[in-house]
Subunit: 114 residues, 2 copies
Amino acid sequence: MENNSPRLDPVFQALADPTRRAVIGRLGQGPATVSELAEPFSMGLPAFLKHITVLEDAGLIGTRKVGRVRTCTLREDRLAAAEDWFQEQRDLWATRYDQLDDLIETLKDTDDET
Amino acid sequence: MENNSPRLDPVFQALADPTRRAVIGRLGQGPATVSELAEPFSMGLPAFLKHITVLEDAGLIGTRKVGRVRTCTLREDRLAAAEDWFQEQRDLWATRYDQLDDLIETLKDTDDET
DNA sequence: GCTATTGTTCTCCATGTGGTGAAGTATTGG
DNA sequence: CCAATACTTCACCACATGGAGAACAATAGC
């Protein structure tokens, strides 16, 4: 199983910004054009475009240009893939607790012997 | 429920680095000292210390110094809190699909009327 | 009390990030 | 064709990040 994830660095990096998380939240309700997405923010389009690029490079969104309009869509599967990392961590904790259980068993045995 | 999260920016920022994710993975198996954690990496201690600081500032780990040894522990609840953001996103998708269902219902009604 | 160990702080440097504004490109509507 | 629209690219800037190395604590062991 290993680290099959589509490069987590850019994904978490992309999520580490409120503007980009807001974009993802908005796209969660359906596709939208660049200017629609940019409208709630006070920054200029060039700055906003960079955020879109970061999200696209991370694979979290897809974009398609028709005419002069670029439409963005959320790649929900990619987001879910990122989420998997957390599950992997929990699996590690589980291992740890299993080992704790083993330790407890060992201690019990020791007690019996005493 | 809103955005109760303990400032997601630093959390995701902290996760956007393989060294720091590896540290979290290691701490998932139990507490460890700074030099134990640093050992697998080729960088110097000062650089590594920065990673520890980033993780601690993000709230993902806790550290305690006893004598000259600093021991780090994973704050599993904080990691889980970060994970909640993904769940919130899925809730948004659910809303979206509910609206799709509504639309389908509307279309059905329209069909009935036609 | 010396000395090794463990961490910490400092300065420095290259690169990345997030923003600006000006100018350019490509459609679309009249 | 002309102008408005919707990006897009460019040059630039302030600041954050991740690394280096040197020097400085502060214990722990002998």
